[in-house]
Symmetry: C2
Subunit: 277 residues, 2 copies
């Protein structure tokens, strides 16, 4: 089952307490594709400039990511520069150069228009809708967004939300969109805007699923060494949709099992008895 | 399998954005017992003053909580007064009257000394150790603590930690005790101080279990209306130990299953297929 993702491919310059990196390949479509590709055939629609490293394109081919929808335009690749503070949950954007993304009009190649899963990564809601219009009866559609569109293009975003099956957003965005502080209430309110499924991302605190039944919570994988959280949300969405494509069905059961599957791993050495026995 | 809990029984005055209450019965032993008693026979060792409401004592009898170890002393019951801010994760203590708790010397009645599970709720580590010394070969022991003891009686606390099987503490306490910011690292470091099992409590963000295998995370039950979080940690410990007593064994599998048991509930109405099918 093929997944089509539309989003950015970027060159990121990142400062973090753990170190720095300049012009590292990133972007929402890039991270999503890497999260999904081992579970399902993945194709991207995006744009880069002529400065984009050739080797990176060949690496995508080797990973089996279909880049026939990745246009190489005249000009420079989209760039983002940011800094993470000591608490890696907080980041500052130091600079953004839209470059070739400025006039990006997404075009979905003919052979990708019947992709069964479609993910619209963070981008202006009009651009996201334009992709949806080019696809033919996808089986499942999902999108992401950000504070900028919630604040300044909310009408267009609300229009898009009525057309997608699943919406990924973070805690701050959910509060901004619904004016509700409690995340359980906010998640429920987002569902009323259209999407049957809402996944509320909470960084190191995990995520919440809102579907037919009561909200369902998933903790984040615990890790001691966080080097750079850029793209974590897009990779997460890639993993989720990759799993749904691999499984071939979407239901609350499927989405809950995604979790149980992970946590049901029981180390055999711990199957011992009580300390005092 | 009987559980013995030693801790406080208090009269709490609480201000919260949702309302206020004066002299409500509370205290760590009281909350713990209420969390555990439906799963296992529970007995408490504590002290109240002569002002403690008779009706509350009778209510405990009706709930099957053994209060033969709850002494009624001359003087007034321990009182705590606090206020929760808009974000209920933050609270201020407005006042504490130790009263009868001031000279409390715990005495475990003869018939409770062979209790198989022992929980030492938050109290000075010397008082906690004194209870442990009166019990006879408990099968499983657990304790709680607080910042005060970590800062000012750390030697005594460390001594206690070498003797218990499980330690419950919150994120702030774990960081204070280990000087580590990352909670995964902090939890592992706490385990090295003695307890085979460490449960790190994170309020609305759930809890982390450190045992033989990799850390195991549990989200908090999502709720829209939080009225008063006082005693949440003690009730949680009561539920955990009640479950272990009910199950009759302690292992990583048992502790993980405690979780799976809860999350594996799948609403039958959601066993439907995909939205596009």
């Amino acid at each position: 089952m093929k997944i089509l993702v539309m989003g950015s491919v970027a060159l990121d310059t990142v400062q973090a307490p753990t170190g720095s990196v300049k012009d590292a390949v990133g972007g929402s479509a890039y991270y999503f594709a890497h999260g999904a590709r081992s579970l399902a055939s993945t194709a991207m629609v995006s744009v880069v400039g002529q400065d984009f490293p050739e080797q990176e394109l060949r690496d995508m081919d080797e990973l089996g990511i279909d880049r026939t929808g990745l246009k190489v335009s005249e000009g420079k690749t989209f760039r983002w520069e940011g800094r993470y503070l000591e608490d890696m949950n907080v980041r500052e954007t130091l600079g953004t150069e839209l470059n070739v993304l400025q006039d990006f009009v997404p075009f979905v190649p003919e052979h990708l228009r019947r992709s069964r899963l479609v993910f619209l990564a963070n981008m202006g809601p009009e651009t996201q809708s334009a992709v949806l219009e080019q696809t033919k009866k996808p089986w499942f559609t999902a999108c992401d967004s950000m504070n900028l569109w919630i604040q300044h293009h909310q009408d267009r975003l609300l229009e898009l939300l009525r057309k997608v099956d699943m919406f990924f957003l973070n805690d701050e965005e959910a509060r901004m969109l619904t004016q509700k502080t409690c995340l359980v209430s906010a998640g429920k309110a987002v569902r009323e805007l259209g999407p049957k499924w809402v996944i509320l991302k909470r960084g190191e605190h995990g995520s919440m699923l809102f579907g037919g039944g009561p909200p369902f919570l998933l903790p984040a994988y615990p890790t001691e060494r966080v080097k750079d959280p850029t793209g974590a949300g897009d990779s997460f969405a890639g993993g989720c949709l990759g799993y749904l494509a691999w499984r071939g069905s979407v239901s609350e059961e499927a989405l809950r099992l995604l979790w149980l599957w992970e946590v049901s791993w029981l180390p055999s050495r711990s199957r011992s008895s009580a300390p005092g026995d």
